[in-house]
């Protein structure tokens, strides 16, 4: 029997959250566990909808008619944060960011790369940097 199939080009997919976030019927499930991101795709999708294909930054999703087949799961290793070690981004997304953001903006004013830190550690690094001079000037004061 022929149905509308959801196909994903594994070579193109970078493992971002777009398709799972836009799917109006929650057919695409994403989970991050033990340093691995798993995206669970349905084999068929009967909805009159192209949201996932439209949202995909890499044009990896195509909806075609074909013989019914089971769903499938794509797995992506997550890159650990260089500071806290928590896995936070897929290598594919990291590459895309690296290719989109100009090289000179990939490091901070001191030449350190912020891209290898998770958002939480970036925030705490920024906070510590901002407070540095203030902490020095308040060292002699009473708390």
């Amino acid at each position: 029997m022929k149905k509308r199939l959801l196909t994903v080009d594994e070579e193109k997919c970078i493992g971002c959250r777009a398709c799972s976030a836009v799917c109006p019927v929650d057919l695409i499930r994403l989970s991050d566990e033990d340093g691995v991101r798993k995206i669970d795709f349905p084999g068929i999708c009967d909805e009159d909808c192209q949201e996932c294909a439209r949202a995909c930054p890499e044009d990896a999703i195509v909806l075609v008619f074909g013989e019914v087949r089971p769903g499938f799961v794509l797995s992506f290793d997550l890159v650990p944060c260089q500071r806290c070690g928590a896995p936070f981004v897929t290598y594919g997304v990291m590459d895309r960011l690296g290719n989109t953001i100009p090289k000179e903006l990939q490091t901070d004013a001191f030449g350190a790369s912020w891209m290898t830190l998770c958002p939480r550690c970036r925030r705490s690094a920024e906070r510590d940097r901002a407070a540095k001079t203030l902490l020095v000037s308040r060292r002699g004061t009473q708390v």
Partner: protein, 153 residues
């Protein structure tokens, strides 16, 4: 020149009123006050970067930069998470329920809610030139006070 929010951290008293005001205005806070070693507190929110990496990576065009300030169109957002991962300060944006929430400088108000609420005038709402003038003025006043009291900066 467009206006932006600047945090003079030397005045921040860590009361978290800005977070509450933001949450009340938008349903969720987009400014965060972190206390560093019990001595300093730093409010972190979107810096409105001149070369905004979040805007560069936003392929559906939900984020755009116009005359300095960054605007966000939630209808175009795919929830891909790229802007969250592209923010050098890990502060501007957060992913929640498959959509990005971020500071829009309270586009519907004259002055952002966080700035109006700040009891210690640590948050300043003005154009970059005026902010820089105000900061220099405050630094000079502080130096004057230190010299008068004999306290070394």
């Amino acid at each position: 020149m467009s206006k932006t929010v600047y945090a003079d951290i030397s005045r921040c008293i860590a009361c978290h009123a800005c977070e509450v005001a933001c949450e009340k205005a938008h349903g969720a806070a987009k400014i965060f006050v972190d206390v560093v070693r019990d001595r300093a507190s730093v409010p972190v929110s979107c810096c409105q970067c001149e070369k905004a990496t979040c805007v560069m990576v936003c392929y559906p065009g939900a984020l755009s930069q116009d005359n300095g300030s960054i605007t966000f169109d939630p209808d175009r957002c795919t929830g891909c998470d790229l802007c969250v991962l592209a923010c050098p300060f890990g502060a501007a944006v957060q992913l929640e329920q498959n959509a990005v929430r971020r500071c829009d400088l309270c586009s519907e108000r004259e002055v952002p809610a966080c700035v109006v609420t700040c009891p210690s005038q640590a948050l300043i709402w003005d154009d970059v030139e005026s902010i820089s003038r105000e900061i220099r003025k405050r630094a000079a006043a502080e130096m004057g006070r230190s010299l008068a009291s004999g306290r070394v900066l």
